[in-house]
């Protein structure tokens, strides 16, 4: 009985891994320039074993400069949002929580809007966005710990997070209101809808570095997140320093969210529904849930991005698609959900 259970879990994880690899390969094929499977393997072979692939220049450009970065970015962003979403859900003891709960997304959005308003270059916009995302969460945590009582920290954080998000949203609206309606307003609006169309190879570094820094502590502490799902006093009586562990997780997850959003714009729902979906597949144990939700999230966003860039002649903003898919899915979760969540 026990053996078959662990085995079936192992099979599920392998299937998720296989699905991710298939999605990555599929995403390389898709697009206006046809990268055939042969070309992809030739390029990979060249990369790995130094055997010249002898392909035309366009194949190299598409593979290394356009589709490669975009596929990697989509996967990393999906994985990052899901990772921070899972972590946030554990900390807040609620599967209906998403990475924007403390204001990271609204803050990052406002930072980007300011950057675009002042016509900063792309790196400047990203940096400002990242910093504002962090600032928003710092505000939330600071205010919450100033007003909050020990027993109600979670509720206080969520409520203050709502307020901070609303304030930064107002800031975004104000910037949009004063922005030049012909040049800057469209840029801001488009950024806020989330897209990967302008991704470049060096953007990947902007995602990978903060994500790695944030992911390592999350991975090391991931089993302990299980204990946080009981009340703080229970967790403490089992020897967990809840204040410290919660602080570490919030800092790491926020850093990941802000770095991802600063590159991609606002892509909603992924960090909410993917951890949830993964929990349905592999169970709630964070030891397995955390890595698996990264796999599922990466695969999901990659596939959605494939649709975004190839469904119509014009690109569909990614944030719109994730909302169209995520909204109904959320309703479905509410429909079959248990009363404890609400």
């Amino acid at each position: 009985m026990k053996e078959t259970k662990t085995n079936s879990l192992r099979i599920k994880i392998l299937l998720l891994l296989a699905l991710a690899i298939i999605a990555i390969l599929l995403s390389f094929f898709l697009g206006r320039y046809a990268l055939t499977p042969y070309k992809i393997f030739a390029l990979l072979y060249e990369q790995l074993f130094d055997v010249p692939a002898n392909l035309e220049a366009n194949a190299y450009i598409v593979f290394y400069k356009i589709r490669g970065p975009r596929v990697c970015a989509a996967f990393l962003i999906g994985a990052g949002l899901s990772l921070s979403g899972s972590a946030y859900q554990g900390v807040f003891r609620n599967p209906m929580v998403s990475p924007d709960i403390l204001g990271a997304t609204a803050g990052a959005g406002m930072g980007a809007a300011i950057g675009l308003l002042f016509s900063l270059n792309l790196a400047g916009v990203q940096a400002l966005s990242f910093v504002f995302g962090i600032i928003a969460v710092a505000f939330t945590c600071g205010i919450a710990s100033a007003v909050g009582k020990r027993g109600n920290m979670i509720l206080t954080l969520v409520l203050v997070g709502m307020v901070i998000s609303a304030l930064f949203q107002a800031g975004i609206s104000l910037i949009k209101y004063v922005a030049d309606p012909y040049s800057k307003l469209p840029a801001i609006t488009f950024w806020l809808m989330g897209s990967l169309s302008s991704i470049k190879a060096n953007d990947l570094l902007i995602i990978i570095i903060p994500m790695a820094i944030g992911a390592v502590p999350l991975f090391l502490l991931r089993w302990k997140i299980n204990l946080l799902s009981f009340s703080d006093e229970e967790a403490e009586s089992m020897g967990v320093n809840t204040t410290r562990i919660r602080r570490i997780i919030i800092i790491c997850a926020t850093m990941i969210t802000a770095s991802v959003v600063s590159v991609s714009g606002i892509i909603g729902w992924v960090g909410l529904i993917i951890p949830h979906l993964t929990r349905v597949i592999v169970g709630p144990d964070y030891k397995i849930l955390l890595p698996c939700s990264m796999l599922v999230g990466g695969t999901y966003l990659l596939l959605v991005d494939d649709v975004a860039r190839s469904l119509m002649a014009m690109e569909i903003p990614l944030g719109i698609l994730t909302a169209i898919i995520g909204g109904p899915f959320f309703i479905y979760l509410l429909y079959r959900g248990r009363s404890e969540w609400l």
Binding site: M1, L220, S229
Partner: protein
Amino acid sequence: MSLNVTDLICGYGEKKATGSISLDVSAGEVVCILGPNGAGKTTFFKTIQGFLKPITGQVTYNGKKIHEWDRKKLAQQIAYVPQAQSQPFPFCVKEVVVMGRAAHLGKFSTPSKHDYAKCDLIMEKLGILHLKEKIYTQISGGERQLVLIARSLAQEPKLLLMDEATSNLDFKNTVRVLQQIINMSSENIGVIMITHFPEHAFLCADKAALFRHDKTVAFGDINEIMTEEILTDAYGVTVKIPELAGFNGERIRTCIPMIARKS
């Protein structure tokens, strides 16, 4: 193991929730905490675990003040069985029980096969091994309570604090838990339990602390504290304490409230 409470007044901030309490518990002793709702029993529990600062007086465990203990070191000594509450994620029972092992694991480690094996043994002892693969949120309230007891035993504590651990249980499971308490005390684990049932004190406790409405606390031997007079006064309900003989001729006492019935 020794827990000493001297002249302790518990409460939130300045607001006193109890009168002055002095009691001590040593290895293998079972102490029952009795009293009406709102008499500060749970506040007392929070204070002796170091979650609330004492207003006056002090709590020491093995001679060291409780809030000077490192959380993890303390978790290896004292385990807490709360009342089963709702849980947001559908963990399976073995995952819940193994959480108790956190007290003995390194900062970044996850439980090993050895830890799971230990938990299996504990679940078997409590008669809940068949629940192992079940989803914690889907089992009955009584079963959940037993799982939480298993989790606390996975901490391998020297002292167990139980907050109304039997109040959700049916008759059979109540008896099972009381039997477990006696077994633990014979393994030299100290137990402090809050209960609303005076008869439980007679069944398994050595000492009792009676929290009264006027905030005074009486502590002493079962025989001193659990008299008809004192209990009647504390609960505001007339009680009788009859005595009967068990199967082996031992004296068993219980507590029965006097209720007016139609004649």
